[in-house]
Structure formats: structure tokens, C-alpha cells
């Protein structure tokens, strides 16, 4: 039974951490866009 | 005859060329000047077909695909493009083979043309910088191309040899070749160049017949 919960938790941990990296990358891009805007 | 339209070359987020439109005619010697990182080398590499344009087009002698014109292009890069462990003649014999030239006479003549001795058995790695540059020029001339792209041919070459090379280049120009030459020593070519091209940040910013006009800009 514990293995079941572990597996389900692991699945979502993997997916959520991937989504988190996506969010981070998106933030970084936003920052770059801001910089580009300002320099123009 | 080289026609370039809207040429942009990007290396990832870095743009080496930012929109170049230019024409270079046969029988003329163009001297390309500019600071380091202005895109001079990338321009030559694009014309030579070594760097594929991100945008824009290059047409050489009517070929829109640069690779189709490769027999008419002679390219001399800043590095020697020679195998250090082999002698000059061995090097040229190999490169002649790539162009389907099988007789050694051609290679010997080209080596003599740049004032070196084809019988030299020393490996190129032991040549002086000046000799290596001349051997490198010989390699570019091997297949008698109509277009010559020379990247820094005089770097580390002593003054007298450089003058000899200039004389040779002028002769080549007079035999109706298109020559694009990147250099930092523009004064060497003051009397023979047809046009000076100034590049800055990946663009051509001015073209003049007189070097002086560039300097006072």
C-alpha cells in the first residue's frame, strides 16, 4: 500500500518539478524581454 | 561576381552578421576593414559556403547555392588550413586531389608562385609564420579560382614578404578575379585596392575608393 502512495506521489513530484522549471525559464525570458524593451 | 542580399548569420543568440546587402564585381580587389568581432570573417565564411546564412541569400557567378560554385572559390583563412605534420608539397598534393587535379606540376607551379620551393621536405609546422601564410595562399590558389577570399593574409608576415604578396594579389586581380581581403594592415594595399569596405557590428557601414576618406569619417 505504501508503495502505491509512493508511486503516485513520485509521479506528481516529477511532473510538478518539471512544471516548476518551465515556470522558472518563463520568468527568465520575461526578464530578458523587459531588458530588451528598456534598451530600445 | 558576388551578390549578397539581406544576409543575416546568427550563432544561437549572437548575430555575427546583421543584414548585409552588397555586390562585388569581377576584376576588383576589395579590402574589408573593421574592428575585431565586426563580422568580417563570418562574411568571408558565408561566401565560401562554410557558414550557412540564417536569412538572406548569396549568389556567386549566378549560382544561388554557394556549394555549386565551390570550384570557383579560393579560401584562405586566418589559421593555415594545412597539416602541420606534412610538407608543403604533400599538403598541396592532397588538396589538389580534392579538386580532381592529379598532376604535381600544378602544385609545384603554385608553390613557386608564392616564392617557396616545392622541394622543401620540412613539415609545414616547422615553417616560419610568413612561409606558412604563403603556403596557405598557395593552397587557396591551387585550383585557379575566379573568386579569392583572403582572411588576414599578412598577419605575422614580415614587411618584405607582405609586399611580395601584395604584388601577387594585384596580379591576380588584373587577371579578372574577384578578391575579398580582410586585413588590419590596410595601408599595405592603399595603392592596389579598388575599394575599401568598412564593417561594424555585423553590417557594412561604408564603402570608399580612398582609404583616407574612411579614416577621416
Amino acid at each position: 500500500m505504501n508503495f502505491l502512495y509512493a508511486a503516485y506521489a513520485a509521479t506528481w513530484i516529477i511532473h510538478i518539478s518539471y512544471l516548476a522549471t518551465l515556470l522558472l525559464r518563463y520568468r527568465r525570458l520575461r526578464k530578458q524581454i523587459e531588458e530588451l524593451r528598456r534598451s530600445q | 561576381m558576388i551578390r549578397i542580399a539581406g544576409l543575416i548569420k546568427q550563432f544561437g543568440p549572437f548575430a555575427a552578421l546583421r543584414g548585409i546587402t552588397a555586390e562585388f564585381a569581377a576584376g576588383s580587389l576589395y579590402v574589408i576593414l573593421g574592428d575585431n568581432g565586426a563580422g568580417k570573417t563570418t562574411l568571408l565564411r558565408s561566401i565560401a559556403g562554410l557558414a550557412r546564412p540564417t536569412r538572406g541569400s548569396i549568389s556567386i557567378l549566378g549560382n544561388s547555392e554557394v556549394r555549386d560554385a565551390c570550384r570557383d572559390i579560393g579560401y584562405m583563412a586566418h589559421p593555415s588550413l594545412l597539416y602541420d605534420e606534412m610538407s608543403g608539397m604533400e599538403n598541396l598534393r592532397y588538396f589538389a586531389g580534392l579538386y580532381g587535379i592529379s598532376d604535381d606540376g600544378r602544385s609545384e607551379n603554385v608553390i613557386r608562385g608564392v616564392d617557396l620551393d616545392p622541394a622543401l621536405t620540412r613539415p609545414v609546422g616547422q615553417y616560419s609564420q610568413g612561409m606558412r601564410q604563403r603556403m596557405s595562399l598557395a593552397r587557396a590558389l591551387l585550383h585557379d579560382p575566379k573568386i579569392l577570399l583572403l582572411d588576414e593574409p599578412f598577419s605575422n608576415v614580415d614587411y618584405r614578404s607582405a609586399l611580395e604578396m601584395v604584388k601577387l594579389i594585384a596580379q591576380l586581380r588584373d587577371s579578372d578575379k574577384t578578391i575579398l581581403l580582410v586585413t588590419h594592415q590596410a595601408t599595405l594595399l592603399e595603392d592596389v585596392a579598388d575599394e575599401f569596405v568598412w564593417m561594424e557590428a555585423g553590417q557594412i557601414v561604408s564603402r570608399t575608393r580612398e582609404l583616407k576618406l574612411l579614416e577621416t569619417r
Binding site: - | 565564411r45 565560401a48 559556403g49 562554410l50 557558414a51 550557412r52 556549394r67 565551390c70 570550384r71 572559390i73 579560401y75 583563412a77 589559421p79 593555415s80 588550413l81 594545412l82 597539416y83 602541420d84 605534420e85 606534412m86 604533400e90 592532397y94 588538396f95 586531389g97 580534392l98 579538386y99 580532381g100 613539415p123 593552397r139
Partner: protein
């Protein structure tokens, strides 16, 4: 100007360069020797046990050593950017590829020929099965390593950390070939199983990837 003359000229040039500098072969030999010695500490090399694991051991040693040689092939062309001289010439890309692949085949083959006696001595190897069968396994297996190795070495010279990139790209793709080589060798040494299926697998691998390399090499060579 045919494919074969340029291939031959390039191959002769590479062999001559290697003969003069001996960079690749020396590094490769010493590296393989180190692997042999280091592995011998990790288990007790008695005859019976060695026979079981020698197949894997031998090929792992060759694989790592081959990577050294494969990196050298293009490193040689990158010095003074000589590769550009080839790229501006009208010579077909595949001539270069074949010359390089054959050259590497020769280098790795020489290495194998020199290392095999060492393995026999250090691990008291004695094959129970038919020894001659090692020849086709070695030929097909070496080509399998070398053909993709040459290709991916050309890919990795376009990346930032060249030398490290090659094994990262090559090893995953080579897994089927490695499984086949290792198992065929073990089968011959222990004399227990037939190697026919492994030979078929290796041959298929060789054919598939030789064709793929020839199809894609031009693109990779001119990718700048």
C-alpha cells in the same frame, strides 16, 4: 574524381599523419592497458570466472579506448581548421566519412590485435568454443563502434564540450551492438551457446547505421 580516389587519398593521408605523430594509437594503447590492469583488481581473475566476464571486459576496454581514437580523428582536422579546406572543396562529404571510418577501423583493429594477447596473459583466458569465430565478431563489432563513433565524433565537434560529448551520444546508440559483441564473445569463450543470432544482429546494426551515416554525414559536416 571518384568517391574512392578521394577516400583512398584521405585514408593514406590520415595513416601517414598518425604514423608521424602516433598521438591516437599511443594514447589508446596506454588507456586500454590501464583498463586491463584496473579491472584486474576488481575481481579475482581465475580461469573460470574470467571466461564468464571477459567478453564484457574486453569490449568495455576497447570501447573506451576507441573513444580516444575517435576524438583524435577530428581533432586532427580541427588543428589549423584544416577541415574547412575540405569543406570548401568540391570533394564529396561521404569520401571523407568513409576514409575516417576505415581509418578508425584500422586503428581500433590494431589496438585489438595488440591487446588480445595481454588479456590472455593477465586473465588466463582460454576459449572453450571455436576461437576462429572471434574474427567475424571482432570485425563486425569494431565496425559497429567505429561507424557511429566517427559520425558522432563529427557531431560532437560542433558542440561546446567536444571530447565529453562523444561518449554521451555514442554509448546509448551503441547498446545493441555492445550487447551483441559481449554476448557473442562470452558465448565463444564459454563454448555454451551459438553466436549465429548475435552475428545477424551485428550485421544488421552495421548495415542500418552505415547507410544512415552515409545519408546524413554531408548535413553534419556542413552544419555551421
Amino acid at each position: 574524381m571518384t568517391l574512392s580516389t578521394i577516400t583512398r587519398a584521405t585514408l593514406m593521408k590520415d595513416l601517414r599523419l598518425e604514423w608521424r605523430s602516433k598521438d591516437a594509437i599511443n594514447a589508446m594503447l596506454f588507456f586500454a592497458l590501464l583498463v586491463v590492469v584496473v579491472f584486474s583488481f576488481s575481481f579475482d581473475p581465475n580461469a573460470e570466472e574470467s571466461r564468464q566476464i571477459a567478453g564484457g571486459l574486453v569490449w568495455v576496454a576497447f570501447l573506451f579506448a576507441a573513444v580516444v581514437a575517435l576524438n583524435q580523428t577530428w581533432a586532427r582536422e580541427l588543428r589549423n581548421q584544416v577541415l574547412d579546406a575540405y569543406r570548401v572543396s568540391p570533394a564529396p562529404a561521404n569520401s571523407l566519412f568513409l576514409a575516417k571510418a576505415i581509418g578508425n577501423f584500422v586503428f581500433v583493429g590494431v589496438l585489438e590485435a595488440l591487446m588480445t594477447p595481454l588479456f590472455i596473459v593477465f586473465y588466463q583466458l582460454r576459449a572453450v568454443g571455436p576461437v576462429w569465430q572471434l574474427v567475424p565478431v571482432a570485425v563486425l563489432g569494431t565496425w559497429a563502434l567505429v561507424v557511429n563513433g566517427t559520425f558522432f565524433a563529427a557531431v560532437s565537434i560542433r558542440t561546446r564540450s567536444r571530447e565529453i560529448m562523444l561518449p554521451l551520444l555514442l554509448f546509448p546508440i551503441s547498446i545493441p551492438a555492445i550487447i551483441a559483441m559481449v554476448n557473442a564473445t562470452t558465448a565463444i569463450l564459454t563454448g555454451e551457446l551459438s553466436i549465429r543470432v548475435w552475428i545477424v544482429l551485428l550485421a544488421t546494426y552495421d548495415v542500418v547505421f552505415t547507410i544512415a551515416c552515409l545519408l546524413f554525414f554531408e548535413m553534419v559536416l556542413h552544419a555551421e
